[in-house]
Symmetry: C2
Subunit: 388 residues, 2 copies
């Protein structure tokens, strides 16, 4: 159920000493082939971290041999020295694995604006390479955690048209700064299917668009978000784009839900589904506006079915709707009908962790769901104390 | 220092019984003329409250004789019955004052999605009319409070070219849901200058654009925001648009700062100034993006000068800048230089309530400031318990 589930991969997670806690903080995932096909998507933040600049270049030829990831430091806003440190990380990894640095993908996560302690990372890479194993995925998933409380992993098994089985595995980290154009989120996906880089790229973009891009914990876009997909071809399965994309979307959706489920301080996981929209974009825009309303999110924390705060968020969008035709339900109770008072709000049970908000625009046939969480004391606490 | 400071106005604030607390909840401001010129700006939220729909129509002819305002209920998302209740409120106010209902401006604030208790409002209007006095401004300022901890008032005195003095007074309420296109904010401005509706409208829009529109407490746009300006002409002063606009902007800025200073649960008042921008719009966009970052706001609550969260917010905008040329200072310490590490973050003192964040885009000569506040436990607490 992890990145080493597909054939052709080894992984490791070790303690290099970047975290004061002494927890594992350096992960390595190696593709042993025969294929080294790869694709990746990155944060759309214009202030991108050094490893994002580096890795964008690495994957541009569709080939990645290994991914080295550190927690305990984002290496963002660190200037030329920061880029040099990413370069050194790739060089060292290439050296111990007998590969080329230009095929080494680098990811970092942690505090922005601090230089990485290279005196710890360089020997850590030796340790990670020595620890590589065909069942090392869980250790890698643990080593990339920051404020995450649990490692996140997922797997899918399918078959191509001729019945050859293939597997897709993934690991993810991220618990805050989750927003579109991705999140503070590092995701490594692996597969033993034999898929060429061009198709990997298309399928990966399609899958992230409807999964990670729709997980919006706090509206804050990270400098480091990365999703990388490696294909070893070791299963000899050659699935169609449709079959492979379906499996990949399933793995991405499972990881995205796990990210939201572990969001910093959250006490409710909230799915905001907008339907009967004129377009999918309208539905996404409306759901996202509600997901970003601090007032709405604080109300859910207080178990208050405050549908007025839903409508006031919907009203800020340019989606097609008439204010007096909006319907809103929470956990199945339609508390707002035609823009006014519907069923008794006391009927809504917000005790369960899962909350479903459904917004009916009565304007068409499209829909989209955004996953978010509530705004809690613990969110404020964790994010007021993170770097101090 | 209030709406009754200018000549020609009477005001009152009484307890109609809308609030469970028994605090004053109904305010009335009457323009006794000789002029009844008026202008107003409203929320741009498409889900607008019944009183917004009504008052937009009332002011469309440039004349307002009186403003009746209630706290204890927003009368938003209340359907045809809600509009009827606003109409009844205007009719009753007109009747007791001997005026026409079509010249009665109505404002409401409080919880969305509940019908107003008209059985309390109607007799309350009798009480308010009976209590009207030429120094009733402070009572009116108190009666419009919701989660506000203090009433907000301001005044300005100037003179026209011939030396005739005029006064501008104002009252405001609002402590959350403060965002652009205004806030959950009701503002009544009065003046005894003799200014025609057309000029009032232009000057009011100019003044709110750089004051209330740049107060962004929590990014949430209300269904009820209204700023109304009444001119009695009682001073006989006829100031130029420039002289009047300057005074009006000063009053609006003072009220806007008081709104942010009383924002729900805030422990820091934060001014985010972006300068050396290519355009004023760029500067405003950048400052607003930072003002809306929960991660940045929680960090300030924790007295953590986390400039990485500033840069990650700046990076989400489309403003003209190069990431490696961004400078950021907090309370005078330049902790980020050229997109990287600047002075030691330990030098930043975030103990004072006032925080100044300055962002240098190195892209031009324009600037703008957005006023916001930090994200605190108390904000979450107040907004999780508001309606329950």
């Amino acid at each position: 159920m992890t990145v080493t589930a597909p054939k052709g991969f080894r992984a490791a997670g070790v303690t290099a000493g970047l975290k004061a806690s002494g927890n594992p903080d350096l992960a390595l995932v190696v593709n042993d082939g025969p294929s080294k096909a790869a694709a990746a998507v990155f944060t759309s933040n214009r202030v991108a971290a050094a490893p994002v600049h580096w890795s964008r270049q690495v994957v541009s030829d569709g080939r990645v041999d290994a991914v080295i990831l550190n927690s305990g430091g984002a290496n963002a806003c660190t200037g030329p020295q920061g880029f040099q440190n990413t370069h050194t990380t790739a060089e060292k990894t290439a050296e111990v694995l007998g590969l080329s640095a230009t095929d080494i993908f680098v990811c970092s996560t942690g505090l922005i604006g601090e230089q990485l302690p290279m005196g710890k990372i360089v020997p850590g890479i030796d340790a990670a390479a020595a620890a590589l194993s065909a069942d090392g995925g869980p250790e890698a998933a643990t080593a990339i955690m920051t404020t995450d409380t649990v490692p996140k992993q997922a797997v899918f098994t399918g078959a191509d048209a001729e019945g050859n089985e293939f597997t897709i595995g993934g690991i993810a980290k991220g618990a805050g700064m989750l927003a579109p154009g991705l999140a503070t989120m590092l995701v490594v996906l692996t597969t033993d299917a034999d898929v060429q880089p061009e198709m990997l790229d298309v399928v990966l973009r399609d899958a992230t668009r409807v999964t990670f891009d729709r997980a919006d914990s706090d509206g804050c876009m990270s400098t480091n978000d990365t999703v990388v997909l490696l294909a070893s071809g070791a299963s000899k399965a050659v699935p169609s784009a449709e079959a492979f994309g379906q499996g990949l979307t399933q793995v991405c959706a499972e990881l995205a839900r796990k990210l939201i489920g572990d969001a910093e301080g959250a006490s409710h996981d909230i799915a905001i589904r907008t339907f009967n929209a004129a377009t999918e974009r309208d539905a996404e825009t409306v759901s996202r506006a509600v997901a970003r309303s601090n007032l709405f999110k604080a109300a859910i924390f207080g178990k208050d079915p405050n549908w007025g705060r839903v409508l006031s968020a919907v009203g800020t969008t340019d989606a097609v709707f008439e204010p007096d035709q909006l319907n809103v339900s929470m956990n199945g109770v339609q508390i707002c009908q035609n823009g006014g008072i519907g069923q008794d709000r006391k009927l809504v049970d917000l005790e369960p962790r899962e909350v479903l908000v459904e917004i009916d625009l009565q304007a068409g046939g499209a829909e989209a769901t955004i996953w978010t969480n509530d705004l809690t004391h613990d969110y404020v606490h964790e994010n007021s104390a993170y770097s101090s």
